[in-house]
């Protein structure tokens, strides 16, 4: 038997083989074609016509019968025809491969394809249309024109008879009790089983050496709890497809913070090493103040704080309470040097990429629901910033007190196509409708705290991708004032139209998110910056890009403010900029609002390896595709800060650094990001210089 390499992988890898000193970009189209002709077409189940196909798929439990019952066959046919008439073609091997490898529905034995890209789009549209043919057609048009892309769980699962959940992102608080830890473990298992990424806040758990039942020194702290979760996530692996993913967040003032961070050190002991669980640190502004003044800082033992104040440490505004806690002799504490701690975080980030950082005070300061609840931690990709409340899990026979945890369903606009088709209002409105439909039809009953929050808050997270692609296409440098000018207007518009749609839904349904009247949307405080600042383009170049589009004016904002006060808002949270992994490949897009990391990417994914030249890459725009590692991270932070102004949740922001950087440089980025109002920083990526590069300068 022979193990020949497939033709398309060979062709795709040949992009990198220089010919006359140039990369062979044309090989990629050849690879995509070969992949279709030699593989996809050969391995697709054949049907004579649409009716036969749909009947077969329903009969064999692939599609939901109820979904198709909502439409006449003529309607279904009309929608399929419209989608197919668009003659969509994947422009690169990577985009085609991503779709067929990860998204297309396959036969039960996994050997044959049952769907093309067009079919998946049609089914998702019918699902989201929920019987409304006009809406279904609008969604289909939106998807096939690649202006909006639902996040993976929705796009992958919608319409299937046997499917996972439509939302994938969950955040759970854990109380300082064995019942709560056990409940969280069960929830983590259940959510991993249905394909979710789970974030857990450990900040309430008592530290190592604290009291249990009044006995000193009995508690083991957060480390063993981390170990338990690590094992949970590797056990629950979605039918063997992929291990569950989890992150644990800890407040930086928690007494176990050093041990928490040490779990990711390269040289740490096997017993305490955490390999697959991600870490996040929640850092209030007080920490940064102590760092700047080069002061010592106190870490607190959370159980003693709780006993003293009847309130958990992470439910407090620690920045405001810090001096009080320091001066209270009943609060147990230990002293460390603040600057040493930030350097330690930087060092561990260089070694492992972790921890993520959450600037929790920034998140709460720019929080329209601040009178309703506190934001305490973020999620696995650090773009979520929503309020949460811990639940009390009691013994059998005693009622639990279920409060609100967090789930989020995400989707992203493709900036290039949105700017090209110039119907941003309609695009954003439809996108918000699609997300709302998912929220309305999700009920994560296995984790009641998540279901409750979804019922009461209807949170969604609309984001964007292909920013760098758009800038390069228009010959704008990522680190330029034009880039800043563009995002300032674009994301203001995204905010305006999403809020407008949320208000219209509230008006149509006569329903707002719970406690809307206590929010800053209701009292108008939210609109202050739009009353005082004009976010329309300031440079000619950017103004030209928006030609033919209506940019909301001051008057529009005044009107929206009044409408919101009158009708309310349906979604407690609307916007979040996710890192967009797989879906940006589907869309032949650069990821999120991030800069590219390689002009020609060599992508190692858990299940494949491919070469991916950036979208539109050619000799002309080669220069505008500057790689992230060659950029000044202060410039990146400036750009993200400009976007953050308009985003009610957070932005998944990755720092890209070269390996000659020191902990000092990295710490300065954290401090700058905190000062500029960012809510989170995702992980830090290092590009290792190759040995050729190193030695060639010397030998």
């Amino acid at each position: 038997m022979s193990m020949q390499l497939s033709n398309w992988i060979q062709l795709n890898n040949e992009i990198m083989v220089l010919k006359d000193g140039k990369y062979q970009f044309e090989k990629d189209r050849e690879a995509a074609r070969s992949y279709f002709v030699d593989y996809v077409n050969q391995n697709t189940v054949f049907f004579h016509d649409l009716r036969e196909k749909i009947d077969y798929l329903i009969e064999h439990d692939y599609y939901e019968q109820e979904l198709f019952d909502k439409y006449s066959f003529a309607e279904v046919k009309k929608l399929y025809e419209m989608v197919y008439q668009k003659k969509f073609r994947f422009p690169s091997f990577m985009s085609a491969f991503k779709f067929y490898n990860n998204y297309a529905m396959k036969t039960n034995d996994g050997t044959k394809f049952l769907e093309r890209y067009e079919d998946r789009i049609a089914v998702v549209s019918l699902f989201l249309g929920n019987g409304d043919m006009k809406k279904a057609m609008e969604y289909a048009e939106l998807f096939i024109s690649q202006e909006y892309q639902p996040a993976t769980p929705t796009f992958l699962n919608a319409g299937k008879k046997r499917r996972g959940e439509l939302v994938s992102c969950f955040l759970l608080e854990i109380d300082d009790s064995m019942n709560s830890i056990g409940f969280a473990i069960n929830s983590a298992l259940q959510l991993s089983k249905i394909g979710g990424g789970v974030s857990l806040s450990l900040s309430k758990i008592r530290a190592a050496d604290e009291q249990i039942k009044g006995l000193d020194g009995k508690a083991s702290g957060v480390l063993p709890v981390m170990k338990l979760f690590e094992d949970c996530f590797s056990y629950a692996n979605q039918l063997g497809q992929r291990d569950g993913s989890g992150v644990v967040y800890l407040n930086i003032f928690h007494a176990d913070i050093h041990e928490f961070l040490d779990t990711k050190k390269i040289n740490s002991d096997e017993k305490i090493r955490i390999k697959t669980l991600s870490l996040g640190v929640v850092a209030p502004n007080k920490f940064f103040e102590l760092v700047e003044k080069d002061k010592d800082m106190y870490l607190f033992y959370p159980h003693t704080v709780y006993k003293e104040y009847g309130m958990h440490m992470d439910d407090m505004d620690i920045t405001a309470m810090y001096d009080e806690l320091v001066n209270n002799p009943n609060v147990r504490k230990k002293r460390v040097v603040a600057r040493d701690l930030i350097i330690k975080i930087a060092q561990i980030q260089m070694e492992s990429g972790y921890p993520y950082l959450m600037f929790v005070d920034n998140a709460n300061e720019y929080h329209a629901l601040k009178e309703i609840g506190r934001v305490k931690f973020s999620n696995l990709c650090s773009e979520i910033a929503q309020l949460s409340e811990v639940s009390s899990i009691n013994d059998y026979g005693e009622e639990d007190v279920i409060n609100r945890d967090i789930s989020c369903n995400l989707g992203s606009l493709n900036i290039v196509n949105v700017m090209q088709n110039k119907r941003m209002k309609e695009t954003v409105h439809r996108s918000m409708d699609a997300l709302t439909e998912v929220s309305d039809r999700s009920d994560i009953s296995i984790v009641p705290s998540v279901a409750k929050a979804n019922r009461e808050l209807h949170s969604v997270g609309l984001g964007a991708m292909n920013l760098h692609g758009f800038l390069a296409l228009n010959k704008i440098a990522y680190e330029s004032k034009e880039a800043i000018d563009f995002v300032r207007t674009f994301f203001m518009m995204l905010n305006f139209y999403s809020l407008e749609r949320s208000m219209l839904i509230a008006k149509e349904r006569g329903e707002t998110f719970k406690d809307f009247e206590k929010s800053e949307y209701a009292n108008g405080a939210y609109f202050e910056r739009y009353m005082n600042t004009d976010y329309s383009p300031r440079t000619e170049k950017v103004a030209a890009l928006f030609e033919g589009m209506d940019i909301p004016t001051h008057e529009d904002w005044v009107r929206l403010k009044e409408q919101v006060a009158q009708y309310g808002v349906y979604h407690a949270y609307r916007l979040a900029i996710a890192p967009t992994g797989s879906i940006s490949y589907l869309q032949s897009s650069t990821a999120s609002i991030a800069p590219i990391t390689q002009k020609i990417e060599e992508r190692e994914y858990g299940d494949s390896k491919t070469i991916y030249p950036m979208p539109f890459l050619n000799e002309d725009n080669f220069f505008y595709y500057k790689e992230a590692y060659d950029m000044d991270m202060f410039n990146l932070i400036d750009l993200v800060a400009e976007v953050q102004v308009h985003i009610d949740q957070a932005i998944s922001t990755i720092l890209y650094v070269k390996d000659d950087l020191t902990t000092r440089d990295l710490a300065m980025y954290y401090i700058y990001a905190q000062k500029k109002g960012l809510k989170t920083l995702y992980y830090t990526r290092t590009r290792k210089r190759t040995i050729d590069e190193c030695v060639s300068c010397v030998v």
């Binding site: 992988i9 902990t663 300065m668 992980y683």
Partner: protein, 333 residues
């Protein structure tokens, strides 16, 4: 009486020693950092022949790394005069031990005990594998005090081992990982490749210096030696490859890869390549570009992380930061 000297890192021995020390130490890693258990599902899908090849190439690599860690690096280190260079060689020896152990970590995770025992038995019995190891070993054990030629020969043997002979073994895991199979094991192999490429460069530099110390006649003998050894090992390697890769139909691809790396080894020694340039399987070639590749953060570790350089914050850093915040906000950016 002999005076003992301490290694003094404040006085550079050569302009590259500090650099290579930093490069070596900064890419330190341990096999236990990579979650190999992720490969279990992929392993179950490999055919019997594929599994057998995988086990044997890794078994072969284990033997070579054992030789290099136990004998090669320490022996050369004994006979190199400069203390910093010795330090680098000993560090490299330690890494070779980690490499040797990491194959076992892969074995233990995916294979049955019988299969593991069979593999180590096979290593002991395989003629070609034993031949190349003994050939290399003979030069390590032959280094004479003050014998420049014998030291040069040992270094050449070492470069051939690290930059040439390893690669018939690396090919298969890289080829699999390139197709999304045994990806975590592939990750380990890539970390090893990253190390071996530095080791090859370093010992290659030492060999070039040693060559300069030789007199005319010795240089001539040395050049002949390089050709002869290469030819002999190359022939052995072709047969070894046929035996390993015929059952899975990859022999031809691997042979090209061997020639490609033989050329690399010669270049490390400062010599001209002898084999014609050929197109090496691009999947494998892309696997060994030792830059950071884009990876899915949740799936694999990536080769990009390393020990960080620690430097404290200074008060003037905050002046700079505060000024930048002020200016960027003033501009409205």
């Amino acid at each position: 009486m002999n005076k003992f000297e301490a290694v003094n890192w404040n006085a550079p021995e050569a302009d590259y020693t500090e650099l290579l020390w930093t490069q070596n130490t900064s890419q330190f890693w341990l096999d236990t950092e990579i979650p190999i258990s992720k490969d279990l599902k992929s392993w179950a899908k490999l055919s019997h022949n594929e599994k057998l090849t995988f086990m044997r190439v890794l078994g072969g690599l284990t033997l070579l790394d054992t030789e290099q860690g136990n004998v090669g690096m320490p022996m050369i280190a004994q006979h190199v005069a400069d203390k910093q260079k010795k330090a680098i060689l000993i560090f490299q020896a330690a890494m070779e031990e980690i490499h040797a152990k990491s194959y076992s970590t892969i074995f233990t995770t995916v294979a049955s005990s019988e299969m593991i025992n069979d593999t180590f038995e096979w290593v002991k019995e395989d003629k070609h594998l034993q031949y190349k190891t003994s050939r290399i070993d003979s030069y390590y054990k032959n280094i004479q005090d003050g014998g420049n030629l014998s030291l040069y020969q040992a270094m050449v043997a070492s470069v051939f081992l690290e930059s040439f002979l390893f690669y018939s073994g690396f090919f298969y895991p890289l080829y699999l990982a390139g197709q999304g199979k045994m990806v975590a094991s592939g990750e380990i192999i890539k970390l090893i490749v990253r190390d071996e490429s530095v080791h090859g460069v370093f010992v290659g530099l030492l060999a070039q210096e040693a060559f300069q110390q030789l007199n005319g006649a010795e240089q001539e003998a040395a050049s002949r030696f390089v050709q002869d050894l290469l030819n002999d090992l190359y022939k052995n390697e072709l047969e070894y490859t046929e035996k390993l890769y015929d059952p899975i139909g990859l022999t031809h691809e691997v042979k090209k890869y061997i020639r490609y790396n033989a050329n690399k080894a010669l270049m490390n020694l400062g010599l001209e390549p002898v084999f014609e340039e050929e197109e090496v399987n691009p999947v494998v070639l892309n696997g060994i570009r030792t830059q950071t590749t884009t990876h899915d953060f949740f799936s694999t570790k990536g080769q990009g992380y390393q020990k960080g350089k620690v430097e404290p914050l200074h008060d003037e850093d905050f002046e700079l930061l505060n000024r930048r915040v002020l200016e960027s906000n003033k501009l409205g950016i």
